[in-house]
Every structure is written in C-alpha cells, then in structure tokens.
Subunit: 282 residues, 2 copies
C-alpha cells in the first residue's frame, strides 16, 4: 500500500504518542516532533507507510534514548491475553465452525495496537469479533488452500495478539513458522514476546529481521525472504503487514481489523470492519 497524504499527520501523531511513552521530558518530545516534521518532505508517497514509520520510530529511540519504550506494555498485554486463553479455547471448542471461530479470535487480538490512535477494550472487542459480519471474508478460499498445503507461514503483528494467533495455529493443525520483528518497534511482537505468548509450544518462531512495524521485504533477512518465497500459504496479521505486502503476488491471506480510515478505504471496507482477505493472485 502506498503512503497517503493522511498518513503524514498520522506519523507526527505516532511520534508524539511514542515520545510520551518513551520519556517524560517535554523538550525532547518537542525536538522529536521538530525533526519528524522536517523528515516529512523526504517521505515519498510511493513508499509504504511502515517504511516511513520505521524512520519515525528510529528517531524516537535516538532522541529519547529509550530503545524499547513499549516493553512493559507488551509484557502486560501478553499477560492479559494469557488470562483470556482458557476461555477463548473453550469458545472455539463449543462453536459450530471451530476454524472460523479461531480466525475471529485471531482478528479480535489485532486490536492490541499502540501504533493506532485509539484506546481499546479487549473483552468488548472479542465479544464483537465473535459476532459481527466480516467486511470481506474469503473463508472458502482460506479453507481450500489450507487443506492443500503442508505448512503455514504466519506473520505475526503485535505482542499480546500472539496469544490469539496461537489459538488459530492450534486449530489449523499444520506445521507453522511464526515470523516476528527483528527488533522492538512500537508494541510489535519480537521473539521474546512470542515465547511469552507460548508460540514456541505450537510453532517455530523465526525473525523477519526487520525493525519496521510491518513486513517491508527489502528490510527483512535472507532466511525470512527464502521462507517467504517458497511458502504456499501465508497468513499476514494486522495493518502494518498488510501495508507492506498488499501488492505482493504471493498466496497471502490478510487478517486484520481495519483500525484507520485510510487502510479501510484501501481495502474497500468500512473503518472498524474485520477482514479475512486473500491476495489478488488467489
């Protein structure tokens, strides 16, 4: 997905929120906003938003000196999600279509996102995601493709959300590689976060190598790119991965909640919609 003009004020807002989480020093935050303001003109609109966001969050680290501002929030998110795990498993077991319920739960987990300008109520979100209609739901294509493949590449998004992903991985019952970010950025899941979520018990965790809040292939490591190229079934969770991969000609299923109007418009759904969308080649 390209960068829209609306993304530019959003990037400045993201810098402000991240700056406030990283430091209490208002002068540093002002300096951060000044520098991000100056950076805007070097952002080409044909780059993807996470590429630009990557530069912004590097600037947050550089100016505040805090290399992992969201660390505590990430640990808390995962702890909270783990307390929900038993009841979520029960809901899957008691449902008519267990796989679809697991998908709905994985999408509900996508609301744990500190990059987007919203607060969230995870219990309410789960309740809603279990009931509401999908904006787009390519579930038939999903089950058909899944039946035909031997393994899955699952590209994770946020810490905490990984617990919800685990439920879907358990339900798919296929050998799975679970890709995480190469280093901390916003509240995106890294290796440690995925282990805390128990992903290591159900999948093999690999690092994509990127420090961007989304899958920007040119910033990923060789191992990930190799796996990605040969994979026949890829799940891409969340907005950042969608933004990076939406134009790819690969067998990808995008799963997300459309949390901003720009992405909702790009996908062709309403803001707030839940989405299971196959890539154009499928």
């Amino acid at each position: 997905m390209k960068t829209y003009l609306d993304c530019l004020p959003c990037l400045l807002n993201q810098a402000l929120r991240a700056g406030r989480i990283a430091t209490a020093d208002e002068r540093k935050i002002k300096r951060l906003l000044d520098e991000v303001g100056r950076m805007l003109e070097s952002i080409p609109l044909d780059s993807t938003p996470p590429e630009s966001a990557n530069l912004i969050y590097q600037k947050v680290k550089e100016i505040t000196g805090n290399i992992d501002p969201y660390k505590e929030l990430k640990i808390e998110s995962t702890q909270k999600a783990l307390t929900l795990y038993p009841s979520l498993k029960r809901q899957v077991e008691e449902s008519k279509d267990k796989l679809l319920t697991a998908i709905r739960i994985a999408i509900a987990g996508n609301v744990i996102d500190f990059g987007v300008n919203k607060t969230f109520d995870i219990d309410k979100e789960i309740d809603e995601a279990l009931k509401k209609d999908f904006g787009i739901c390519h579930y038939n294509a999903f089950t058909k493709c899944l039946d035909e493949v031997n393994d899955v590449l699952f590209i994770g998004d946020n810490a905490g959300e990984s617990v919800f992903d685990r439920i879907l991985i358990e339900q798919m019952k296929k050998p799975t590689l679970y890709a995480v970010r190469g280093m901390p950025v916003i509240n995106d899941a890294t290796y440690e976060d995925a282990v805390q979520a128990g992903i290591d018990k159900v999948a093999t965790i690999i690092s994509s190598g990127t420090s961007a809040p989304g899958t920007i292939l040119k910033t990923c490591n060789a191992e990930f790119k190799k796996v990605y190229k040969k994979s026949k079934f890829i799940i891409s969770k969340g907005q950042g991965n969608y933004e990076g991969l939406s134009n790819e000609k690969r067998p990808i299923f995008f799963m997300l909640k459309a949390k901003c109007h720009v992405i909702a418009n790009d996908i062709g759904v309403d803001e707030g919609d839940i989405v299971l969308k196959k890539a154009s080649i499928l």
Copy 2:
C-alpha cells in the same frame, strides 16, 4: 492559552484539510505538508495556537493560490443557519429563561467549525445544546455584569454561527459592537459573512483586523484594540478567541463548545462540553 505538543500534529492535519478544500492538486498539498512540517520547529510552545495556525493558513493560501477556500462553505453555512432562525427565535420566546436559551443557541452555533477535525450535524447540536448540562456555567455573573453595562463587545467566530449570535444579541437588548476577522481564514466570519447573517440589523460590525483564526491582540488593528480596552463587557465566542484571550485580565465571558481535548483540558471540562466561563478577573 499556550500551544501544547498535541497542537503540532493537529496543525498538520488542519493544513491537509484546508489544502484539500483549496485545491485538487495532490502535489501542491504534499508540498504544503512538507513546508508545514518544516515550520513546526519554529513554533514556540509559549505562543497561542491561533498565532501558529495563522502561519499555516497563510501557507495554504500561498501554495494553493486560493485566498478564500472556504468561501462557498461559509455562504452555505449562513444560508442553512438563516433557515433555522425563525424556529430558534420561537424556542427562545417559548422558554422560561429566554436569555439562557439564547446563550445555549449561540453556543450550539459554535459547532459550525471547519478548523476542527469533526463533521457536525447542526440540528442535532442545537437539540443537544438546549438540553445538556454546562461543563462550566457562570450565568449569574453574566446576567449581573450585563445589567450593569451600557454596551457589549461581541467577538464573533465562524460564518453561520453569526446567525446564532444574532439571536443572543437581540435577547441582550444592549448596543453591541460585533467584531469579525480582518480577512478570510478557515470559515471564520468576515464583514460580508456577518452582513449575510443579518448582524448589521442588530449591531455595529467592526473588523478586528486580524487574519488569524482567533483574537491575537498584537495582530489586531488600532480601532479594535481601543474598543477592546475600554469595553466593560466582552463576549468571546469559540475556541480560537479563547486560545488568544484566555490569559487576558479583561471582563470577558467565553462561550464555546469544547471541540478538542486540549482546549477541554485547558478549561477544565470534558471534550464536547458546552461552556459559559468568566475571565479570571471577574
């Protein structure tokens, strides 16, 4: 009111919205955002937000070549407000406290604001403003002061809103000077807008001389400053005038709807609250 860090991304958002209203040329809007981004570092946090907004909206005019992008929207707002005038007058006449109802109506009109990042439904707003509790309501001080003075300085805010102000002016029954901006900025009322609203039939319209979307005294003309200094009863409508005058030691009553959380926090009310607040010296 000082400029808060939150105002900086908001200024960039305002530039984007104004740019889109002024031109359909995306390259010009990108250039506008680039330039506004660069300007952020020169904005001192001890200046008031309308001072900074003034620079932004001048930049919108300069880059898009459109000196009055909101002209049509202003005319339409006033036309719409004029169709509501008879029923609003009736509501005042039928109410127990006519002056308080006229104040509520004047505040309802303050929702007609294209500078703030919200859409609005004027009929719903009127209905709400007639019923809801005030966040702050210094009505007793207002009536007491009004009884003691011979005339009123009424500092208007937006086009369309002036029709609602007219109802309050008619109800106060005091000779009134109605101040408007010196030139077009966002949808703020200028001389022509006030005349279209029929203010000339109930008050003397004067120009404050400013091109800022708020009353920044140092940018006002000598005539306005003279009137302002000797006035014993001043009504300041809306956020922009509040931002410019909130620290003034003058007999001012601020009337507004708190449409952004930064201003709501500064006043000490919740976002969305309606406010009738006396200045600190009263």
